[in-house]
C-alpha cells in the first residue's frame, strides 16, 4: 500500500498515459485448466483500485472490497458464510491495489460446487450489513492510525516514498485510503460504488486447477447478472519530476532508522527496455539475496543492517511473503526503489551515502560482461521458481494480460536469451539516476530536524567498526563518508508519523 500525500504537493503538468490495460468486450476470463490437480484457485479481478476512490472518500474501493470478502450474502450473514467455508479450510481474500482489486480463493475440488456458489453470491449479491460495515471500517481506520503509522517502520518508509514519488498523482495515497476519507464513507457510498464499479465491463475472472469445463460457462452465465457498465478508466498524468535529492524525514518513536529511496521509471513489463533493467536491478539489489551489490556492500562488508535491496517495479514484500515479484499489483506507471532496512541512528547517514555511492557506480560503470552473464543466468533460472503453483501462474498470466504482454516468465526467457551487456548498461544510463532521487527516512521522535540538517550540511559521516576491516573497505569508506548529497532544501521536510494518511 502507499501513503497519502501530506505537505509535499508538487503540481505537474502532464501527459495522459496511453498504456491502458487491454479491454475485451464484455466479461474477461483467463483460464489455466489442469485436470489432474485436486485444487482450484480463483483470482477475480475488478479493474478498479485506489485510483478510483472519489475525492474525500479515499479508501472506498478497499472498504467495498472488504465488505464483500468479509461480509455476507443476501441469504447468509458473514458468520454463516464463515461457518460454511470452515470445514473446507477455504475462504476469500481481497487485495486492493492502486489499479486493480483482486479476490483470491482456493478450494479443494471436493467442495468446489458449494464454494463457488458462496463466492459467486458474495460477489453478485453482497449483503452490505451495517454491522459488518462498522467492523470493517474500524479495522481500516485502525490499520492507518495504529499499524502503518506506528508498528512497522519499513512499511512506513516505503509508503512515505510512494507518496513522495506520486505527489499530486492518482497513485499518491494508500490503497487503504486516508483516515478522514474512510471516516466520511457511508454504507450508501459503498452500495453506490459497488453498483458503479462491479460491472461486466470491469470484472475479470481467472481460474486455474482441476475445475470442470462446464464451470466457466456457468460463471459466464451467473456473472451476466452484473450490469454491463463502463470501464473505470482513470487517466494518469506523468508523476512529478525529481529535482535533486528530495528528502522526507518521518518522526516516530524508534530505535533504528528505515530508509527507502527512488523515482519513477517510464517502463513496465510491456516494454522491451524493462527486461535489461530487470537484470540490472537483480545485479544491484536482488530481494533477500546476497547476489546484490547493495546487500554485499552494506550488510556483508559493513554489517550496517539486515538487508539492502533494489526494485525496478512496485514490490510489496513482508514477513511470510515469497521473495518473488508481486502478483496482481500491476501499475501503468512504475518506479525504481532502494530499500535499506533499519540501521542504527549513528550509521544511517553513512548507509544512505553508501547506497547512493553504489548507485552512482552502477550508472557510471555499468555491469561487466562477467557480471552480466552471471546475472542473466540467475534470472533465467530463478524466474522459473516464481510460478511454482497454479495460483501464482494464474496471477502472473493475468498481470501479463494487464500489461498487454506475453506470459511474464516466458517473456523473461525470450528477452534475456538475446540480451547483451550493452543493452543492460544502456538501460541503466537511460533510466537510473543517482543525482535526482527521493529519499524517505523514518527517525526517532525529536531527531528529524537534526537528521535533515546533517544531510543538507553535507558534513562527513564517518563510520567505525568493532573489528579491523580490509583496506579496500577503508579506502572506499573515505569516499562514501563525504559522498556529496545534493539535497533540494525547498522540497525536503520533516513530518510526524501521526500526521500521515490523515486526508
Amino acid at each position: 500500500m502507499t501513503i497519502r500525500n501530506f505537505t509535499l504537493l508538487i503540481i505537474s503538468v502532464l501527459l495522459a498515459a496511453t498504456l491502458l490495460p487491454a479491454k475485451d468486450a464484455g466479461m474477461k476470463f483467463t483460464e489455466m485448466p489442469s485436470a489432474a490437480s485436486p485444487l482450484i484457485t480463483f483470482r477475480v479481478i475488478i479493474r478498479a483500485g485506489a485510483i478510483n476512490d472519489p475525492a474525500g472518500k479515499e479508501g472506498l474501493n478497499a472498504l467495498t472490497a472488504e465488505m464483500i470478502a468479509q461480509g455476507g450474502t443476501k441469504e447468509l450473514t458473514y458468520t454463516q458464510v464463515v461457518d460454511k467455508m470452515y470445514p473446507w479450510a477455504a475462504g476469500i481474500n481481497a487485495n486492493s491495489d492502486q489499479e486493480v482489486t483482486t479476490f483470491i480463493g482456493n478450494v479443494h475440488r471436493d467442495n468446489l460446487d458449494a464454494y463457488y456458489k458462496l463466492i459467486s453470491s458474495l460477489l453478485l449479491q453482497p449483503r452490505f450489513d451495517p454491522a459488518d460495515f462498522q467492523r470493517i471500517k474500524d479495522m481500516q481506520i485502525n490499520y492507518l492510525k495504529n499499524t502503518l503509522r506506528s508498528t512497522n517502520d519499513e512499511a512506513l518508509g516505503k509508503q512515505t516514498l510512494n507518496t513522495m514519488i506520486y505527489a499530486g498523482h492518482p497513485y499518491g495515497k494508500t490503497e487503504a485510503g486516508t483516515v478522514q476519507g474512510i471516516t466520511s464513507i457511508t454504507l450508501e457510498d459503498v452500495k453506490a460504488y459497488y453498483a458503479k464499479t462491479y460491472t461486466q465491463a470491469n470484472i475479470w475472472i481467472g481460474i486455474a486447477g482441476g475445475y470442470p469445463a462446464t464451470l466457466v460457462e456457468t460463471m459466464r452465465k451467473d456473472f451476466a447478472a452484473l450490469p454491463a457498465g463502463q470501464p473505470n478508466t482513470v487517466t494518469l498524468a506523468s508523476p512529478p519530476q525529481v529535482s535533486g535529492m528530495e528528502v522526507t524525514v518521518v518522526e516516530k518513536p524508534t530505535r533504528a532508522y528505515a530508509v527507502s529511496m527512488g523515482y519513477p521509471v517510464s517502463v513496465t513489463r510491456k516494454d522491451k527496455d524493462f527486461y535489461p533493467l530487470l537484470v540490472a536491478g537483480s545485479y544491484f539489489g536482488e530481494h533477500r539475496s546476497f547476489n546484490g551489490v547493495l546487500m554485499n556492500r552494506l550488510r556483508g562488508d559493513r554489517g550496517l543492517n539486515y538487508g539492502d535491496y533494489a526494485y525496478v517495479e512496485k514490490f510489496v514484500g513482508g514477513l511470510g511473503q515469497p521473495p518473488f515479484p508481486n502478483l496482481n499489483t500491476p501499475l501503468r506507471q512504475q518506479f525504481f526503489s532502494i530499500w535499506l532496512r533499519p540501521m542504527p541512528p549513528d550509521r544511517t547517514l553513512f548507509g544512505i551515502r553508501d547506497a547512493l555511492f553504489e548507485l552512482k557506480n552502477l550508472v557510471e560503470k555499468g555491469l561487466s560482461k562477467e557480471d552480466f552473464e552471471q546475472t542473466r543466468k540467475f534470472v533465467l533460472n530463478y524466474s522459473k521458481l516464481w510460478a511454482a503453483t497454479a495460483s501464482r501462474r494464474l496471477g502472473y498470466k493475468m498481470d501479463s494480460e494487464f500489461y498487454g504482454s506475453e506470459y511474464y516468465i516466458d517473456r523473461i526467457d525470450q528477452e534475456l536469451k538475446t540480451m547483451t551487456v550493452e543493452d543492460v548498461n544502456a538501460a541503466i544510463k537511460k533510466y537510473l539516476n543517482p543525482d535526482n532521487i527521493k529519499i524517505a527516512v523514518v527517525v526517532d521522535e525529536g531527531k528529524g530536524q537534526a537528521f535533515l540538517s546533517s544531510m543538507i550540511s553535507n558534513a562527513p559521516s564517518p563510520i567505525t567498526y568493532q573489528s579491523p576491516v580490509g583496506q579496500s573497505i577503508i579506502d572506499q569508506d573515505k569516499l562514501i563518508q563525504t559522498f556529496p548529497l545534493t539535497i533540494n532544501k525547498d522540497k525536503s521536510v520533516v513530518v510526524n508519523a501521526k500526521d500521515l494518511f490523515e486526508k
Binding site: 479450510a89 503509522r149 528505515a258 576491516v469
Partner: protein, 448 residues
C-alpha cells in the same frame, strides 16, 4: 457429512494406497523414502511432480532451546547467519556465485527448536547443492572479523522488528512465564546478549562443534528426484562428516503455582494488546493431550467460535482474538492474543476469554462441530502441499520435533481420535488461574 468429505479428500490424495478406516490412512500423500548414513545423518527423499525443480532442506535440530549457558541467548540464530560466510573450498563469494549460477532461492530460519537451511533450485543442480551444502556443514570457516561484522546484521534483524509490539510482548511473556527453561528467551535473544555477540567468537566455534553434527541433522529433498540418486549423492558428499558427542541438558520448567502478570507501556500509538498464556503440553505424535489442545484451540478461537462471534462480529470489542498451542519439543505455552479497541474494555474482553475457556471444561463440543474441525484441519494441510517448498517446509517441522517425518501421519491420525471428553480433560488440566500469565501492552499516553 463432514466425515464423508474428509474421506473423499484422502481418497484423492493418497494415490494407490488401499485403506478401509480413516485412522489407518495417511494425511501425507507422498511416499517418504529415507535412509541413515553410518555417521547418523538421516537423508529423506520425496519424489513430487514438479518437473525440473527440487527443494533441498537441511534441518538442524538445534534452536534457541539449546542455548543453556547464561549470556548466550540468540546464538543458534547468529550461527545460522555465520553459515553463509563460506569455507576454504567455497569462500563466501564463490558460494554465492554458485547459488547464483543455478538460480537458487536460498535462505534459512531459526526457531526455538530448529535451524533450517532451505534452497529451491533446478533439479539438474542437485549434485551442486549436495556439494556446497555438505561442505559448509562440515568445513565452515570464518574469521573473527567476519564474525564481528555479522553481529551488526543480527542487531539489524532485531532492529527491523523493534517497532512491532508483538516482538516486545513475546520477550516479556517468555521472561515472565518461564523461570528455568530456555524458552525463557526469544530466538533472536536478549538485547544485552545480542549487543555482546561481537565478543563471542570463541564460543561460536564451540557452538558449531557441538551442534553441526550428522546425528543432529536431517537432509530432506523434495521434488523432481530419484531417491536412489539422492541417497548415493548423500553418501558421496556427507560420509566424511564426523559424529559428535555433546549431550544437552535443558533445564525443565517446574509447574507454575500462581498467576503471573506483566504490563508493557508503549511509546508509539497502539491499541491495547491483551496476551494470556497457559503452560501447555509439548508436541507429541502419541499423547492425545497434544491433539486435544489443537482441536480445542479451533473450538474456542477459530472464526467459527462463539468467542469470535461475540467479541469480533457482534459486540465488536476487539479487532481480533486468536489462540493456540505452538508446537515445541518441550512444554511451551498456549497463547491467546487480542487487540482491544477501547482500553476501558480490556477487563471485559479478558473475562469473556476466561468464560469461553471455562465453558470447554463442562460443555462437550457437539459431534458435528468436532467433525467440522477435523475436516478443516485435513483440508488445510492437504491444500498447503502445492509445490516442493511447502511440502519440504511442512515435513521439516515434524522432523525437528521428533526426528521422524512419519510424525505428520501419526498426528493427523490422532486428531481423528480426539473425543469431546479429551477436550474437556485438557481444558480442566491446563486452563487454571495458577497456570496462567497475563501481559497487557498499552500506549503510555493516548494522543488523538
Amino acid at each position: 457429512m463432514m466425515k464423508t468429505a474428509g474421506l473423499t479428500l484422502l481418497i484423492l490424495l493418497v494415490a494407490c494406497s488401499g485403506f478401509s478406516r480413516p485412522e489407518e490412512n495417511k494425511i501425507f500423500p507422498y511416499k517418504i523414502h529415507q535412509t541413515t548414513l553410518e555417521n547418523g545423518l538421516k537423508v529423506i527423499a520425496i519424489p513430487f511432480d514438479s518437473p525440473g525443480i527440487v527443494a533441498y532442506y537441511t534441518i538442524v535440530r538445534t534452536g534457541s532451546r539449546n542455548e543453556v549457558e547464561p549470556g548466550k541467548s540468540g546464538f543458534a540464530h547468529f550461527f545460522e547467519h555465520m553459515m553463509f560466510r563460506g569455507t576454504e573450498r567455497y569462500p563466501k563469494d564463490k558460494f554465492n556465485a554458485m547459488l547464483k549460477s543455478i538460480g537458487a532461492d536460498n535462505n534459512a530460519y531459526t526457531s526455538d527448536d530448529q535451524t533450517v537451511y532451505h534452497t529451491v533450485a533446478s533439479a539438474a543442480a542437485l549434485e551442486t547443492m549436495m556439494d556446497i551444502e555438505s561442505d559448509r556443514f562440515m568445513n565452515l570457516k570464518y574469521t573473527e572479523e567476519d564474525f564481528k561484522t555479522e553481529s551488526g546484521a543480527i542487531l539489524g534483524e532485531y532492529n527491523k522488528s523493534s517497532s512491532n509490539p508483538f516482538q516486545t510482548i513475546d520477550e516479556k511473556m517468555r521472561e515472565i512465564a518461564f523461570g528455568e527453561h530456555t524458552y525463557r528467551h526469544t530466538t533472536i535473544g536478549f538485547i544485552k546478549d545480542i549487543e555482546d555477540m561481537p565478543n563471542q567468537y570463541q564460543y561460536s566455534l564451540t557452538f558449531f562443534d557441538r551442534w553441526y553434527r550428522p546425528e543432529n541433522c536431517v537432509v530432506l529433498v523434495v521434488g523432481d528426484v530419484q531417491p536412489d540418486n539422492v541417497f548415493a549423492l548423500a553418501k558421496k558428499y556427507y560420509s566424511a562428516w564426523k559424529h559428535g558427542t555433546y549431550k544437552l541438558d535443558v533445564p525443565q520448567e517446574p509447574p507454575q503455582t500462581a498467576e503471573k502478570t506483566g504490563t508493557i507501556p508503549w511509546k508509539a500509538k497502539t491499541l491495547p494488546i491483551l496476551t494470556i498464556a497457559y503452560h501447555g503440553p509439548a508436541f507429541s505424535d502419541k499423547d492425545i493431550e497434544y491433539a486435544a489442545m489443537e482441536l480445542l484451540s479451533q473450538c474456542v478461537f477459530s472464526e467459527t467460535s462463539d468467542l469470535y462471534h461475540n467479541l469480533v462480529v457482534d459486540k465488536q470489542l476487539v479487532e481480533f482474538v486468536q489462540g493456540g498451542n505452538e508446537d515445541h519439543r518441550d512444554p511451551y505455552l498456549f497463547s491467546i492474543f487480542s487487540r482491544v479497541k477501547d482500553p476501558n474494555n480490556i477487563a471485559l474482553v479478558r473475562d469473556a476469554i476466561y468464560a469461553a475457556l471455562e465453558d470447554t471444561k463442562s460443555n462437550p463440543v457437539t459431534a458435528e462441530r468436532l467433525e467440522g474441525i477435523k475436516a478443516h484441519l485435513k483440508y488445510q494441510y492437504a491444500m498447503s502441499l502445492n509445490s516442493p517448498d511447502p511440502v519440504a517446509n511442512s515435513l521439516a517441522t515434524y522432523i525437528e520435533l521428533t526426528g521422524d517425518p512419519e510424525s505428520v501421519n501419526r498426528v493427523y491420525a490422532m486428531f481423528d481420535r480426539v473425543t469431546p471428553q479429551d477436550i474437556m480433560s485438557v481444558a480442566k488440566k491446563y486452563f487454571t488461574p495458577q497456570n496462567r500469565t497475563v501481559v497487557t501492552l498499552q500506549q503510555q499516553e493516548v494522543k488523538q
